[in-house]
């Protein structure tokens, strides 16, 4: 029978099926960070259990790390304790840990692919919802809670029931200055934040094939914001080229055998998808959010919605609540909205290609006087490469703050946060109330759009800059 890529990876990892259909799924790769793991390691200690496969586990601190003055350690005591706890747990249980000053340190979902820890056809989990990022390589990757982190540490498996298959076909060619971020924001606008609940999404079509690995990671990263457990993109020559020679990628004869296997992964012709969504990339505008849910998307040419035009009472109330929180008036053109801050970084848009795009927009320009803009590379290796290419100089010259790698203001667990009422053009993934700081107002955009807004001082159509 014709199978989807998800079906194939699922079948290949089945350890056991119970009579009621509940499955035990083998996990090939486990990424661990400091926020969602301390209680899991504590659970192991209390029950006298070990980490079953330390070599399949990789730990790195990213959420709490400071993005400046790192050599001085972490000033906030709770943050410091959490990072130290991860280091100690990794040591006690024999897990490799990339410490804060290691050049390989960075946001866990950027580190995995860079190290070749992320491979096609594998199952990958992490106590972090943006684990869906790794699906860009054709890996079945999703976030889990801390109890499940403990379960994977102890057993290298997860108790799962199978999700349904959804295909998201993005045809056509993206216009200039319209990016992977605009594709995924448009997808979420189309299906809603719960549209993918209970599904694994596979992205296909000409526009997806044309994306770089970086762009594919951006798309898969935000699958969770559409409610999907995971996102998948079939591996191809770009995937293999990205992975070849990475520290943990297969080498020699293993590489050839691995590539041969990876080529069998794409969905079969005629495989059944429970739901299919089709989008035309050639019509997509630069897209941004106006509200406090990622489904609140609008074209840069559009305006803030008017709740009085919404019939459904629950939806109208939700829009009114979002507008009040965001401090926006109905029908305001998006290009009239001024910003105070710009944040470029995160597991969504903190990779080298993102920084190159930002530098292109910023070159020879200045950040508006009333805007504070920061660029946080996704990892030490991204930072190093950007510096080799001279991107840091262009950005610093233009008035951007050039920081050390980490999650930073995507979720504001470290010192980087919005003040009450501040409005931010952010390349991250969540615009929830308080996400970037209590009372902070987040608009999700592509890296180019964030850079253009930082320079203009308000949102602008990057195609016209």
């Amino acid at each position: 029978m014709a199978r989807t890529m998800y079906d194939k990876i699922w079948d290949a990892h089945m350890v056991d099926v119970q009579d009621d259909g509940t499955c035990l799924l083998y996990i090939d790769r486990h990424l661990v960070h400091e926020v969602t793991s301390p209680q899991a390691f504590e659970g192991l200690r209390l029950s006298g259990r070990q980490v079953r496969a330390p070599e399949k586990t990789l730990a790195v601190a990213d959420h709490n790390v400071p993005t400046e003055g790192r050599a001085n350690g972490i000033a906030d005591e709770e943050s410091r304790i959490q990072v130290e706890t991860l280091e100690k747990n990794a040591k006690d249980f024999g897990v490799e840990y990339l410490e804060m000053l290691d050049i390989r340190q960075g946001v866990v979902h950027i580190v995995g692919p860079e190290q070749g820890f992320t491979l096609p056809g594998t199952t990958i989990v992490c106590g972090d919802s943006h684990t869906s990022t790794h699906g860009a390589f054709g890996a079945l990757a999703h976030g889990i809670g801390t109890s499940e982190v403990e379960h994977v540490l102890a057993t290298q498996t997860l108790i799962q029931s199978k999700a349904k298959n959804m295909k998201i076909e993005v045809n056509g060619t993206l216009p200039d200055h319209v990016t992977a971020k605009d594709i995924i924001l448009a997808v979420i606008g189309e299906i809603g934040t719960a549209g993918g609940t209970g599904y694994v999404m596979e992205y296909t079509g000409e526009a997806i094939r044309a994306l770089s690995m970086e762009g594919r990671m951006t798309v898969c990263n935000m699958s969770i914001e559409g409610g999907a457990r995971a996102g998948l993109i079939a591996p191809d020559e770009k995937t293999f080229e990205y992975l070849k020679g990475r520290p943990r990628s297969p080498q020699g004869a293993d590489w050839d055998a691995a590539v041969a296997y990876w080529k069998t992964l794409p969905s079969d012709e005629g495989a059944h998808f429970d739901k299919v969504i089709t989008l035309d990339a050639s019509n997509l505008p630069p897209t941004l959010t106006w509200g406090t849910s990622q489904e609140n998307v609008v074209s840069i040419e559009g305006s803030v919605p008017d709740p009085s035009e919404i019939e459904d009472a629950a939806k109208r109330t939700a829009v009114e609540r979002a507008l009040a929180y965001m401090g926006l008036e109905p029908n305001t053109p998006m290009t009239d909205i001024k910003i105070d801050r710009a944040f470029i970084g995160s597991c969504t848009n903190g990779r080298i290609e993102d920084l190159r795009e930002v530098a292109k927009v910023a070159k020879g320009k200045k950040v508006a006087a009333h805007v504070s803009a920061m660029v946080v590379p996704g990892s030490g290796l991204v930072k190093e490469q950007a510096e080799q290419e001279g991107l840091d100089k262009i950005l610093i010259e233009a008035g951007f703050d050039w920081r050390e790698p980490g999650c930073s203001m995507c979720l504001a667990m470290n010192a980087d946060k919005l003040e009450e009422g501040e409005r931010c053009a952010s390349t991250s993934n969540r615009n929830f109330e308080g996400r970037q700081g209590r009372g902070g107002r987040t608009h999700l955009v592509s890296p180019e759009m964030a850079a253009a807004a930082a320079i203009a001082g308000h949102f602008v159509d990057v195609r016209k800059v």
């Binding site: 259990r49 709770e78 719960a194």
Partner: protein, 201 residues
């Protein structure tokens, strides 16, 4: 984990769509290395001012809902991050049942690991229970996992579906890791086969 027993309690109405895990437990409380003590920060930025004073309009600050054991909420409850701090905070506050039309996937899973029963119902049934919940402490709701039934204050009964394995684990308070380790031979055998077929892993 404690066994899930029948809940007879006050239901609090939270008719907000897409209640996300940042609302349930903001990031500043994720720095803990413990599972306990998060109930006091549940819905922190909706429940308290920046200075820490209670916001009287918020449902769980109203006298009749302070001891609520059931939450009736809008669509897509628990969306956002995988933080298990969200169900930890909910359980620590004393809420044992959450009723909505839909839940985000990871949050839904996390509930079962913490003795919380998330119940998915039709919009009409959620609307009915939301009305009941609006009536406060005079209108307790009864949730029976064994019979998969909810009884409202006026005696009406609503049935709900639940995965049989999850139901069994909640009722018995079973430890997943312990259950899985009973299948250790199968895991070892899988690892051997896979190691031979895909030595690069």
């Amino acid at each position: 984990m404690d066994k899930f027993k029948k809940v007879d309690g006050v239901a609090a109405p939270l008719p907000i769509l897409n209640v996300d895990t940042d609302m349930i437990i903001p990031k500043q409380f994720l720095k803990t290395i413990k599972r306990t003590g998060l109930g006091k920060n549940l819905f922190d930025e909706m429940r308290f001012t920046k200075e820490g004073a209670e916001i009287p309009e918020f449902v769980l600050n109203k006298p009749q809902y302070r001891n609520a054991e059931i939450l009736v909420a809008g669509d897509n409850f628990g969306c956002g991050s995988s933080r298990e701090h969200a169900p930890w905070a909910i359980a620590d506050f004393g809420i044992k049942v959450i009723i909505s039309t839909s839940f985000a996937d990871i949050f839904y899973n996390n509930c079962f690991k913490n003795g919380i029963l998330p119940i998915k119902l039709s919009q009409a049934d959620v609307d009915k229970l939301m009305d009941d919940a609006e009536r406060g402490a005079n209108a307790t709701v009864s949730v029976d996992l064994e019979t998969q039934e909810i009884k409202g204050p006026d005696g009406g009964t609503i049935s709900f579906d639940i995965d049989p394995f999850r139901k069994h684990c909640l009722l018995e308070g079973l430890d997943d890791v312990g259950l899985t380790l009973q299948k250790e031979e199968k895991i070892t055998s899988f690892e051997k086969t896979r190691g031979a077929e895909q030595p690069w892993l």
